[in-house]
Amino acid sequence: MKILVCIKQVMESGSPIKIDPSGKWLQYSQSTRFEINKYDEYAIEEAIQIKENFKDTQIDVITVGPSHASDVLRRALGMGADEAIHILDEAKGYRPPAITAEWITAFVKKETYDLIFTGIMSDDEMNAQTGVMISQILDWPCATAVIKEEISNDRKKMRIEREIEGGAKDIFDITLPCVLTIQTGINTPRYPSLSKVLRAKKKTLQIIPAKTLKTAEQIPSLETIQFPEKTTRGIVLKGSSQDKAKALLNILASKTLV
């Protein structure tokens, strides 16, 4: 069994956000910190759990991004992935998912994977498109928001549960090869182990310069980014903590809510 997990490096949540003077993307500084997209950690963990069941499994991880994005590949290797591929793209700014999907599939077409996992979306751009696009380019079946999976003993299909509105789950049998986009809560991602981290540091990553790949043409253009207008429609309570507590209770009492 050969699994490819597509992962992404995103800006650490809680990092201060500054907009570049061009108004087209964020401005990163020396103090900007990056981390692995949290949804992707669940995707890596799920692949590792499959490997624990099917010992002959190989897990490859792939990312698209600038040189510092290699940190997430090393983290994945530290968790237990076997090989790592870095599609190196130093371009700054917004890269629509169609481009990422096209580049990843260009690599996939040269290999023979049984499964491709992605996180359901990325924390930063929140598009939730890349995994579905990869499946369509490859003409593989795809299930999104997967919260449970189990591979059949003959390894030809898997039973999956995908989350739908209201927290119910639709159950499907899906034929391999397929693409699954993984929802949080499917497992508890492990921390990288020290021995694996040390090995990951020495591991050679396969680098593919993005320049060498064909780029999708039908893509949206990012015009501007801005801070959302502060449309606080409510009242911001002021004063000491005690003042705020009293004010809150008075308001709730006046509405007979307490």
Binding site: M126, I225, S241
Partner: protein, 334 residues
């Protein structure tokens, strides 16, 4: 030249879902920018009456496709029906609900139809004669304007609409003379993905749906044991329940049956108190129908403050004990 907008309707087999009418409002906004005809498309096992409902209340031609095995959303079948249909009946704009089903097929449509895809659109405006689609990024702390100005003339724009972004719009008429539907049945052979049933939501039967007051905790509680503050605050209200944001359910600090949001329980209490919840899109979607919202968060930029009636910038672990203490003191005099 008149453009063509195709809306993919959302329904539960019995009723058209409100997001369909929000998509109609979205289409009307595109129509204000350029001349366009609006069509609806609906897939299901028994779509004739649903299609009539759409056609009466929109005045638009509606294509209805009966396909066995689509009583519940089925991604592979949807794609197998939609792609040939939209190839034969090309649209300039394909409007899809940003639901767990819409998200599952919309990006595939854009690839198959050689178009572009913008997901979770929340707004639209015209700038220098170019349509800008507005969507949230970076945990709703950034808003992005995207356009399709560089798209090829024959390439469709696939757009998914975030629920609650536009007021649902439908015509107030019941004249069956307006019905204009094309109803077909279709067999779809699908072997790669087979529906095996549905696992009910863990929140089914939980008290979240009935509670008058719901107090929820989010990542701001920082540690599992701090969930006690949420319970402490809920205790001062009769008929109250405790809820949680998705991340803390994922951490195992609260049960999934307590999850408030689009993929948990959609709530409509008289009072909702969000503690340490930043306000992810899917959470906001689940609390929209609350009558009164109080938000407690130490981050003044938290998006939850944009929907709250009362905003309190405080750390919940310090502030909740103060509220509880103050409430106890007040009670005898009330």
């Amino acid at each position: 030249m008149t453009k063509k907008i195709t809306i993919i309707a959302d329904h539960d087999g019995k009723n058209i879902k409100p997001i369909t009418w929000e998509l109609f409002a979205f289409a009307k906004k595109i129509q204000a920018h350029e001349k366009a005809d609006i069509y609806f498309f609906i897939i299901g096992e028994n779509t004739k009456e649903l299609a009539q409902d759409i056609s009466i209340h929109s005045g638009c031609k509606t294509y209805a496709m009966d396909v066995l095995g689509t009583n519940n959303y089925h991604g592979q079948i949807y794609k197998k029906i939609l792609i040939p249909f939209l190839t034969k009946n090309p649209a300039d704009y394909i409007l899809v609900p940003h639901t767990t089903s819409g998200m599952d097929y919309a990006p595939a449509l854009s690839i198959a139809l050689k178009g572009s895809c913008i997901t979770a659109v929340e707004g639209i405006h015209n700038k220098d004669n170019v349509l800008h689609f507005v969507r949230a990024m970076f945990g709703r702390k950034i808003q992005a304007d995207l356009s399709n100005k560089n798209l090829g003339a024959s390439s469709p724009q696939v757009l998914t609409l975030q629920a609650g972004s536009f007021k649902p719009f439908k015509l107030d008429q019941n004249d069956i003379k307006n019905i204009n539907i094309i109803h077909e049945a279709f067999d779809c052979l699908e072997k790669e993905m087979i529906y095996k049933g549905c696992q009910p939501s863990p929140s089914k039967g939980s008290n979240l749906a009935k509670a008058e007051v719901i107090v929820s905790g989010g990542r701001g509680i920082e540690e599992e044991e701090n969930y006690k503050y949420i319970e402490m605050l809920a205790d001062i209200f009769p008929r109250s329940a405790t809820g949680a944001s998705r991340p803390i359910c994922d951490y195992g600090w609260a049960k999934y049956s307590q999850q408030v949001g689009a993929t948990g329980t959609i709530i409509s209490p008289k009072l909702y108190i969000a503690c340490g919840i930043s306000g992810a899109t899917q959470h906001l979607e689940g609390i929209r129908d609350s009558q009164f919202i109080v938000a407690i968060n130490s981050d003044p930029d938290a998006p939850i403050f944009q929907v709250a009636d009362i905003c309190i910038i405080e750390d919940l672990t310090d502030f909740i004990p103060i509220i509880v203490e103050t409430a106890k003191k007040k009670r005898p005099t009330n």
